[in-house]
Symmetry: C2
Subunit: 213 residues, 2 copies
Amino acid sequence: MKLYDYFRSSAAYRVRIALNLKGVDAHREFVHLVKGQQRADAYLAVNRQGLVPALVTDEHVVLTQSLAIIEWLDEVHRAPALLPDDAFARARVRSIAMAIACDIHPLNNLRVLNYLSNTLGLSDEQKNGWYRYWVDIGFEALEQQLAGDALTGEFCHGDAPTLADVCLVPQVANARRYKIDLLPYPTIVRIDARCRELPAFANAAPEQQPDAF
Amino acid sequence: MKLYDYFRSSAAYRVRIALNLKGVDAHREFVHLVKGQQRADAYLAVNRQGLVPALVTDEHVVLTQSLAIIEWLDEVHRAPALLPDDAFARARVRSIAMAIACDIHPLNNLRVLNYLSNTLGLSDEQKNGWYRYWVDIGFEALEQQLAGDALTGEFCHGDAPTLADVCLVPQVANARRYKIDLLPYPTIVRIDARCRELPAFANAAPEQQPDAF
């Protein structure tokens, strides 16, 4: 298996965590996003979207989109399960994952920040304000949802990590990088800390990757 | 079952299509996004995120996030399946759905467009340019992916509608509304037209909804 990866990509970070949780090894190929390697023909031949991650399976099938990759991993490597058995519980876990992956992260991608700076000519202050606004609005709702629900346990759902935690930890890492005040989000902070006690999460962190600088 | 809906929300439109394909009836409650009803306490008590759709099941469980809702529907009402049986095929369908739901649509949401106008003070021309940029960059990759893959059939995946088509049609409707030139995307246009021949898609269209104005 081969993972096209970039240490600072949150979407790739999710897949690194999931691979670690499943105990699945993947050869790593690094695509340097700031240098624009994702737009080079060599990478576009792998993933037309020009985004990381992409996972090439042992059958040479290219899988893209982090959540689609992780659902696939969870289907073919069942244990430990990243989605609960019960359909309502699965929906809850997926909805937490997607509140992050669809409603926070896409707004704060490198390509979006580049558009704000380069095409729209916004100042760094405006760009950082944009970044914080979408994290705060997303985390406020998520904090209330997690804190007010008995289904929340040590992790986002119960006492074992799921797809929701796999999405949460990279988003919290991004929030810290942008110096967002996390005091209003004690449940998020607690779950993030619990996750990072696990080697699967800790070893997937951006600063632990071979391509980190 | 009760669907919190708004005619022009693409995410709600996806759920309307899925309900129609499954032949599942839901009582409709309309949340007028332009009037800000999604931020009223009554709706925030249903969905803290203040986004539509939300689906309240017969067991009074509130489900949020359109793709999580549709995965749940597909698990509890199996036929017709919106995801194929094969794990690789499921990953392909989900990756197409998410290329739209994570990488195009979140950038062009009403709340994002409001931020561009109100907080950043951008002109309508800049805002429309932003809208078109993200649709074009997403559709360019998707067109190549669909056109170059033998797994594409009458629909995004084979000859029956899947979760991928459920996401594609609302995004094409949005593109038309913003007068984006669709000539460079013949495969997308062909699949969209094929989908709209089906009553499940046609009856879910924004202009067919009781709250449309």
